[in-house]
């Protein structure tokens, strides 16, 4: 170890942030990483149970309804792809809001935040409809009306995991919408103009994208494979 020179110019030398990001954003990143382990643990538990069970229902037999579709019309994967696109689009508007914030463009921030919030609410409504529909079919925690793909009786863990994990994700979407609404109000009150930066929007954005990211995994694990 050399103590001969004091290298304060280097970013790791102390006195500045080595990552060039403010501490709050750093914390948000590490919080998301820890949340990734929460979701990871859920999804891996789901996988473990699926691997230790002999049969499993075919998602296309289960998730095949669509709002306002006539009885008997089966449209597997259609509704969930609508949900997926809603979430992707709201993620895009969030990126645009962050970008507008970096350019200190208050009007654009407000516009895109409103779109993001609408997207989030739309997603939650879709999920509420789907839950309600499945509940009417007799599915709930501890109750599974669906059969395995090979026609044998299925354990309740199919619905248990579905409701727990999509519920936990829905809870994240819900809290994301709340955070976004708070950000919108703060923008309207000129809080960020006064601070001189829109870093809070960036942090809310990170959280919102993470919610989208989790949906990518949930979508694949429950609806596709």
């Amino acid at each position: 170890m050399s103590t001969a020179t004091v290298e304060t110019t280097k970013s790791w030398g102390g006195g500045k942030s080595p990552f060039n990001v403010e501490y709050g954003k750093l914390m948000m990143w590490y919080f998301l990483m820890s949340d990734a382990f929460t979701f990871g643990a859920f999804l891996i538990s789901y996988g473990t149970i699926r691997f230790s069970t002999n049969g499993w229902p075919d998602p296309n037999e289960v998730f095949r309804s669509f709002p306002f579709a006539p009885e008997g019309v089966h449209a597997p994967l259609v509704f969930v792809s609508v949900m997926t696109f809603i979430l992707i689009v709201s993620s895009v508007t969030m990126v645009l809001a962050v970008k507008a914030g970096q350019e200190m463009d208050k009007k654009a921030v407000v516009k895109y935040m409103i779109w993001t919030i609408i997207g989030g609410i739309a997603f939650l409504s879709c999920q509420a409809w789907e839950w309600n529909h499945l509940h009417h079919e007799g599915a709930w925690w501890g109750r599974n009306p669906f059969l395995n793909a090979d026609g044998t009786a299925s354990s309740t863990n199919f619905t248990n995991y579905f409701f727990t994990i999509t519920g936990f994700h829905g809870f994240h979407v819900f809290s994301g919408v709340i955070i976004n609404i708070i950000m919108l109000i703060m923008t309207l009150l000129d809080k960020f103009e006064q601070r001189g930066h829109y870093l809070m929007i960036e942090k809310a954005g990170l959280y919102w994208h993470f919610v989208d990211l989790v949906w990518v995994f949930v979508f694949t694990c429950f609806y596709l494979i």
Partner: protein
């Protein structure tokens, strides 16, 4: 103007548009694979399709984290502190799934009841009613051992 913001401008709106299109295309490919898989019953083939869907999923995750969450434009050290711990997932997933699979094999070998249950076909009644399925189980349990014996021969 801040340093980060200058960073942004070089990766402007074009990048957002590009990533949006990529994400949409990947999702559409996933859906096509999903629809295609409905008519395929070959186990190996289904596994291959599922594998490719997982790869597409990882690609989507990469684009969201790298561009939407902006990780790609952060400093390399920050990227490393995020990516390296995520590497723990590799062993996390392998060990859990391997042991889950082993638990099923163990039960299939040593737990006749467990194995039996997996061979009883439930007659398909009106779809989607909880009670129906459960009654069906009750009906067939009586013939369980016969069915199991038949299945075992195959």
């Amino acid at each position: 103007m801040s340093h980060t913001a200058q960073h942004e401008e070089s990766h402007g709106a074009g990048e957002v548009k590009k990533v949006t299109i990529i994400l949409s295309v990947l999702t559409i490919i996933e859906l096509i694979l999903g629809f295609w898989m409905m008519d395929i019953h070959n186990v190996g083939m289904r596994l291959a399709i599922k594998g490719s869907i997982v790869i597409l999923m990882m690609a989507k995750a990469f684009y969201i984290v790298a561009y939407f969450m902006h990780l790609k434009h952060e400093l390399k050290n920050l990227i490393m502190t995020i990516v390296v711990p995520l590497g723990l997932f590799i062993w996390f997933i392998i060990a859990f799934l391997y042991d889950g699979n082993s638990f099923r094999n163990l039960r299939n070998t040593y737990d006749p009841y467990f194995k039996e249950r997996a061979t009883i076909k439930v007659e398909k009644k009106e779809e989607g009613h909880g009670e129906a399925a459960h009654e069906a189980v009750a009906d067939t349990t009586a013939h369980a051992s016969d069915t199991a014996a038949v299945e075992n021969k195959h």
